[in-house]
Amino acid sequence: MKAAVVLFPGTNRERDMMIALKAVTGQSPSLLWHGETSLPDLDLVVLPGGFSYGDYLRCGAMAAHSPIMREVRAFAERGGHVLGVCNGFQILTETGLLPGALLRNAGLRFLSQDCHLRVENAQTPFTSKWAKGDVFRTPLAHGDGNYVADSKTLDTLEGDGRVAFRYAGMDGTVDAADRTINPNGSVNAIAGILSANGRVCGMMPHPEDLVDPLMGGEDGKPLFESLVEALSR
């Protein structure tokens, strides 16, 4: 699997992502500068977490206009696989590659804590190593992760199996109104979604920060293993 991680000014979780990708592929992914105007031969583009452009104006808004995002869009339109985590998810919604938007957390505070995610669709290149309904632990760290979309979009997402992950209790219960379960107040407790072709995935939490017992566990690893399985050639 040939993967690349995109670096915007203010990106700060690129190394975490590279560690996770290296852990499953054995080789370091390449780094792409936001100003680049072409992509090398790739199977996966990752937009990592951070504060691109300081999160000023709206998270991800300025990064969405970077030269490289034109290329990423074209790549996705050709059927390429794109993973956006945290700020990367925000950039994907600002670019329009994924629907909806991410608002300030409902509690209006930055949240850095563990959460649990329930796998809603295990038949995707991002989730195949899990079974539907599996629950796993993962850290989250964001101030703007409160997913919203209009009801039509929501119906489509829900109806087409495009909700990849939902915030859940340790036992798999989902209660969007309970902030101990759905910490940022996302609609339908949505933590991650997919594009219509299932090849673009955006999520707020950081599975890449839980891929080693020394980080406290390997609960995030199946995501990367799924990608390797789907994209190795």
Binding site: L57, E94, G100, L103, R104, A106
Partner: protein, 80 residues
């Protein structure tokens, strides 16, 4: 030319910040406060001399960058 772009959440989009401010105002004893909505105001100094042109350009900026029309509305106003 100074232009002011006001960006606010679309009606129907929940505004937790506005709600929190409303709550805090009640705690401070401002009982008359009903709904509170919070938006952004972006003041731009533009080199244009022409008000209509400046407004059109600011509108383009809002559409492309300053507002996210999935969740936000905007208004443009030439100040001077």
């Amino acid at each position: 030319m100074k232009v002011r772009v006001t960006v606010s959440l679309k009606e129907g989009v929940l505004d937790p910040q506005g709600k929190a401010i409303g709550h805090a105002l009640h705690v401070l004893g401002f009982d008359e406060v009903g709904e509170v909505r919070v938006g952004k105001v972006i003041e731009l100094d533009l080199a244009d001399e022409d008000a209509a042109k400046a407004e059109a350009r600011a509108r383009a900026m809002a559409e492309q960058l300053l507002a996210n029309q999935v969740i936000e509305d905007f208004a443009v106003e030439v100040v001077k």
